[in-house]
C-alpha cells in the first residue's frame, strides 16, 4: 500500500513589511506574501511564535501583493505581543489558508455582523468586491470602528454600534440590540464574526426572529 496520512500543514516564513496601530490595543500588520500562496476572502492563517500558533483572519484582498492581518494585542499573549512589536524585516512562520468562513452569494439579503477585530474577514470580502450588504459594526468606542469609511462605501446599510461609549451617528448599544430592535422580519444570510457571546446572542435571535435564515459563524477568542 502506498503511504497514507494527511500531510502536516506546511509552515512557511513570512517577512513583516510594516506594523501600524489602529487603536490603543489593535494594530495592523502587513506581511510579505509567498508567491504560491492563495486564499479566499474570509479565510485565516495560523501564525507561530516560539511553537505557539494563533489564527488570524486575512483582511486584505485575495489579489493583493501582501498579506494583511488585524490583530488585538493581548497582554501576556503568546503571539500578539510579538507581532505588535515586530520590526520590518522580522520573519514569522505561518500555515494556511484555513477556514470556511467565505462569502456565499445567495438570493437572500446579507447581514454581516462584526465586533472588534472580527471585522477582518469582512474587510477582505469588501476588498474582493463584495457590496450591497447590511453591516452591523460593533465596537467599544468610535476609534475602534476600524476602516469605517471604506466599509460604509461598500455597504448598502452601515450601522456602527458602540457598546461602551456613545458617539454621534452611532447606535448606542450592542449589535444584537440593534438587530433585535431594528432589523425587519425576513430571511437573511447572517455572517457573524467576533466574540462568543455576540455569536451566541445573534444565533438565538435568528432562531427566534428570523427563522429560515442561514448563519455562518467565525469566533474570535
Amino acid at each position: 500500500m502506498e503511504a497514507v496520512g494527511s500531510p502536516q500543514p506546511v509552515k512557511r516564513p513570512a517577512r513583516v513589511l510594516r506594523c501600524a496601530p489602529l487603536s490603543e490595543s489593535a494594530f495592523e500588520i502587513e506581511l510579505e506574501r509567498p508567491r504560491d500562496f492563495s486564499f479566499e476572502a474570509g479565510q485565516s492563517i495560523r501564525v507561530y511564535i516560539g511553537g505557539e500558533g494563533r489564527d488570524y483572519s486575512l483582511a486584505g484582498s485575495p489579489s493583493a501583493q501582501t498579506l494583511l492581518l488585524v490583530v488585538r494585542r493581548i497582554a501576556g499573549g503568546a503571539v500578539s505581543p510579538a507581532l505588535a512589536d515586530a520590526a520590518p524585516g522580522s520573519l514569522f512562520d505561518f500555515t494556511g489558508p484555513h477556514g470556511v468562513f467565505t462569502f456565499r452569494p445567495s438570493p437572500r439579503p446579507v447581514v454581516l455582523v462584526a465586533t472588534g477585530i472580527g471585522i477582518a474577514p469582512f474587510l477582505s470580502m469588501v476588498r474582493r468586491g463584495t457590496v450591497g450588504f447590511t453591516l452591523l459594526h460593533g465596537a467599544r468606542s468610535a476609534d475602534e470602528l476600524f476602516h469605517r469609511r471604506e466599509l460604509e462605501t461598500a455597504a448598502a446599510r452601515y450601522v456602527p454600534c458602540l457598546s461602551r461609549q456613545a458617539s454621534p451617528g452611532c447606535f448606542d448599544g450592542r449589535v444584537t440590540a440593534w438587530a433585535r430592535d431594528h432589523l425587519p422580519p425576513g430571511t437573511f444570510d447572517f455572517y457573524l464574526c467576533g466574540g462568543r457571546q455576540m455569536a451566541r446572542d445573534m444565533i438565538l435571535l435568528v432562531d427566534e426572529r428570523f427563522p429560515g435564515s442561514r448563519v455562518y459563524t467565525e469566533i474570535f477568542f
Binding site: 500500500m1 497514507v4 496520512g5 470556511v100 467565505t102 444570510d189 444565533i203 432562531d207 448563519v215 459563524t217
Partner: protein, 168 residues
C-alpha cells in the same frame, strides 16, 4: 464551534442552515462521529507490530472529518483519491489472508472484534449518509467496510486466533 445555542435542539449546518438536531444531515454526521470513535477504540486494541494499520486508521479518521464536513453542507466535495487509497489498503490485507470459505462469525481477538464493530457502525453510517443528498461520500464508506472486514481477519491471523465459520 460550540457557542451554546443548541439547548433547544437546533443546530447549524456548514451550509448555514439552522436545523433540528434530528435532521438527516445531523444524524449522518453523528454516525460518522461514532464511526471515528469506534475506529479509535479499534486502533487502541491493535497489537504491537500493527503500526501500519494504526496509521491507516488515523488517516481514515481524518478522511471521515472531511466527509462529515461535506455531509454537513460544506462547500468542498471529497475527492475520489482516498477511495483508491482505501481500496489498495484492503487489497494489501486480503493478499495475506486465506480465501473465504463462507460467512464468519464476528469476534476472536479483541482487535478483530472491534474491527467488526467498526464495520457494522460504518454500514450504519453509510445507510444514514445514503439518505442525504451527498452521494460523493458513499464510495469511501462502502470501501471502508471492505477494509475493516479484511482488517478483522488480519487481526485474528496475526494474533493466532482461528476464524469461526458459520455452520448453517
Amino acid at each position: 464551534m460550540n457557542v451554546g445555542t443548541g439547548d433547544k435542539g437546533i443546530t447549524s449546518l456548514l451550509s448555514g442552515e439552522r436545523v433540528p438536531k434530528s435532521h438527516i444531515r445531523v444524524e449522518a454526521c453523528g454516525e460518522l462521529d461514532e464511526l471515528a470513535s469506534v475506529l479509535g477504540a479499534l486502533a487502541a486494541s491493535l497489537s504491537g507490530g500493527q503500526e501500519k494499520a494504526r496509521g491507516e486508521i488515523s488517516w481514515i479518521q481524518e478522511q471521515l472529518l472531511h466527509i462529515g464536513a461535506w455531509v454537513a453542507g460544506g462547500s468542498r466535495a471529497p475527492s475520489s483519491e482516498p477511495v483508491r487509497v482505501l481500496e489498495k489498503a484492503a487489497e494489501a490485507l486480503e493478499r495475506d489472508l486465506p480465501p473465504l470459505q463462507g460467512f464468519l462469525l464476528p469476534g476472536g481477538h479483541p482487535s478483530a472484534a472491534w474491527a467488526h464493530v467498526a464495520r457494522t457502525v460504518c454500514r450504519r453510517a453509510e445507510r444514514r449518509a445514503a439518505a442525504v443528498p451527498s452521494p460523493e461520500v458513499l464510495p469511501f464508506l462502502n470501501r471502508l467496510s471492505t477494509y475493516l472486514y479484511a482488517l478483522a481477519r488480519s487481526c485474528n491471523r496475526l494474533n493466532g486466533v482461528p476464524e469461526t465459520q458459520w455452520k448453517p
